[in-house]
């Protein structure tokens, strides 16, 4: 076999390769967006952040919004940590096993157990819930914790700036007006089964993600397999030129509620297609 090509054939092959690759990529996009979207969520600035640029990001490169998702932590004491992508209470051993992980107890020897603990992440479909029961539960937890801290502060007289009572009040305010209402509430491999369980397409989006198991060995806690969502794919959504004027002027932090113009500034309708890839279909000022 020898490699001898004329320049004409090389030109044809190169042009065909570029054209075909672009056609396949764009065809996939068209297929993803064809027909009825898999789900359509109305998100606000609470769920969509403008990522802060570092290095060459400052030179431009288009605008993308980061989808800010959360989990309802298994540990209720962590209620104040709103951005925590920690261990969700629903990601237990049974769920991990259903996702294909080996959840047999690790052997006792330290090195061997270290290997078991380092199971690599697996792809899974993750269900994101917008302003549903998970958010309500998170809000209740924060309210309870804040009430306790404020009661303690009232007893001791420590309610000034920097005290736990004052921080609890701020956390509660943030939970009510600024924190994301988008929670990862389930995961699986079958999109149809997940959709049957969560039929409301305006509240539940199915997205692609990665789940990683973790063997919980913290002192005082029961030793068991648990896990966390390592990443949600496509958690950065590109903003087309026609929507930039609505989103770009918004401050990076949500203005405090209660003041004039406070609360989320913009509202963005995001659709998820057949391949669970998102795109922005509308953007406007947020209804306060």
């Amino acid at each position: 076999m020898t490699l001898t090509w004329s320049r004409g054939r090389t030109l044809a092959a190169g042009l065909a390769l570029i054209a075909l690759t672009n056609a396949i990529a764009l065809g996939g996009v068209a297929w993803n967006r064809s027909g009825e979207p898999e789900s359509v969520l109305k998100l606000t600035q609470r769920e969509l952040w403008q990522p802060h640029g570092y290095g060459f990001d400052r030179d431009g490169g288009g605008l993308q919004l980061s989808v800010r998702w959360r989990v309802l932590a298994a540990d209720a004491d962590l209620a104040f940590y709103a951005d925590m992508h920690g261990t969700p209470e629903w990601l237990d051993e049974a769920k991990l096993a259903s996702l294909g992980f080996d959840v047999a107890p690790p052997p006792d020897t330290g090195r061997a157990s270290w290997r078991y603990e380092r199971q690599l992440p697996k792809e899974a479909l993750v269900v994101l819930e917008l302003d549903g029961p998970a958010r309500q539960k998170a809000l209740e937890r924060v309210r309870e914790l804040a009430a306790k801290e404020m009661a303690k502060g009232a007893e001791t007289g420590k309610t000034g700036p920097g005290t736990p009572a004052q921080q609890a009040a701020v956390s509660l305010k943030n939970e009510e007006t600024a924190n994301s209402r988008l929670f990862a509430v389930d995961a699986g491999h079958e999109a149809q089964a997940l959709r049957a369980k969560y039929p409301d397409r305006t509240r539940y989006a199915i997205v692609q993600g990665k789940v990683r198991p973790y063997y919980q060995t913290r002192r005082g806690k029961e030793m068991r397999w648990t896990g966390y969502i390592e990443v949600i794919q496509n958690a950065r959504v590109n903003v087309p030129l026609e929507f930039r004027k609505t989103i770009e002027p918004a401050p990076s932090a949500i203005p405090p509620a209660g003041v004039a113009g406070g609360g989320p500034v913009f509202e963005v309708t995001v659709a998820f297609g057949k391949r669970f890839e998102p795109w922005i279909v509308a953007a406007g000022a947020a209804g306060k």
């Binding site: 490699l3 570029i18 090195r111 690599l120």
Partner: protein, 357 residues
């Protein structure tokens, strides 16, 4: 002009230069004496031949020109990298001013345009320096093309993108005789095969690097490519395949020899590390032997480097904590001297397939 004929022309020019030097030696030592007419005829023939080769193929006519060529190659390589980076930042800088449709057209147009320009330059330039620049920019444009399409349309990242990138790099490499693009194509293929190997074990493709054994099939395939497909027409292509294959084999093996926990093998960590240490020694020694038998200098060198690294790593494990540092480094130095003696003896005896002296 074809890349093959340019290589042949340069080889002919080098042979003429060596012949002239040797003839001068022989004449000085009185072994041969050409008549002025003979010397003049040979010189005139060589002058004409070199002038024609220089005109047609832009070859280096003497050692000074060759040194200058090396400088030009380095400048061409650095220029290619800088231009590719420039294209990337150009897109980045002005990206947000285009509509989605315009972005798609600009991306595909840039890839198509720079590819066409590369072939156009290649048809008009004998030296290949500007062709290399253009080809690198074309490759960068194509990579940016697919990457930014993914960003614009929020496409899930996929290892499948490595296939057209590899194909494009190899197309440019074989058309324009460019080793840099060949290396880029080989890296894409290695990454893709390793990612696929990783997914067969159930992992997400981007994590293929977390199990170094994923690289071994790619190493074997890359090593076999120049055996199955003759590369005689392309300067240095075979060695590049073999060097990348050996790096793809020995680097993961070196990691596993020191960090057994990340192996697929379900054994005790010490056993895994011991296994890969033995494999590292055996295969690097095998590479030295095979390279010497087949006259593959790059295989001998790569095998030697890794044999020494595996050896020094073991020395470090055994003696770093127990020996005074001066003694430790003395042992390393003496080991290198011993290896030199052994290899010289083997070479002299022709045990590697070379002629005994």
């Amino acid at each position: 002009m074809t890349s093959n004929s340019r290589t042949a022309a340069q080889q002919r020019a080098d042979e003429i230069r060596v012949f002239e030097e040797e003839l001068a030696h022989l004449e000085r030592e009185g072994i041969v004496a050409l008549t002025p007419a003979q010397r003049g005829a040979i010189a005139a023939h060589h002058r004409g031949l070199l002038a024609r080769l220089a005109r047609d193929f832009d070859i280096d006519r003497d050692a000074r020109a060759k040194q200058l060529s090396l400088g030009m190659r380095i400048a061409s390589f650095l220029g290619a990298l800088a231009l590719a980076a420039s294209v990337f930042f150009l897109f980045h800088q002005f990206w947000d001013r285009f509509s989605t449709a315009a972005q798609v057209v600009v991306l595909a147009g840039a890839a198509l345009g720079t590819f066409g320009a590369t072939l156009w330059i290649q048809g008009r330039e004998a030296s290949g320096y500007f062709t290399k620049l253009a080809a690198m920019v074309a490759f960068a444009c194509f990579v940016i093309n697919i990457s930014l399409l993914g960003q614009i349309f929020n496409i899930t990242p996929s290892d499948k993108a490595l296939i057209p990138w590899a194909a494009f790099a190899l197309l440019l490499a074989y058309t324009c005789d460019l080793r840099l693009l060949l290396a880029a194509g080989i890296l894409c293929i290695i990454a893709w095969i390793s990612a696929r190997t990783g997914t067969w074990s159930g992992m997400y493709w981007l994590h293929f690097g977390e199990r170094p054994e994923n690289f071994f099939p790619a190493a074997v395939i890359m090593f076999l490519v120049p055996q199955v497909i003759p590369h005689g027409r392309f300067t240095g292509f075979g060695p590049i395949y073999r060097v990348f294959a050996l790096l793809t084999l020995f680097l993961p093996m070196l990691i596993l020899a020191n960090w057994g926990q990340i192996s697929y093998l379900d054994f005790e960590e010490d056993g895994i590390e011991g296994f890969y240490q033995v494999m590292g020694f055996a295969l690097s020694a095998g590479a030295i032997w095979l390279g010497a038998r087949r006259h593959w200098g790059e295989v001998v060198n790569t095998g030697s480097v890794f044999f020494v690294i595996f050896l020094y790593t073991k020395f470090f494990d055994w003696w770093w904590d127990v020996m005074p540092k001066y003694l430790f480094f003395l042992v390393l130095g003496l080991t290198a001297v011993l290896l030199l003696f052994i290899m010289r003896r083997l070479r002299a005896k022709g045990l590697f397939g070379g002629s005994a002296r």
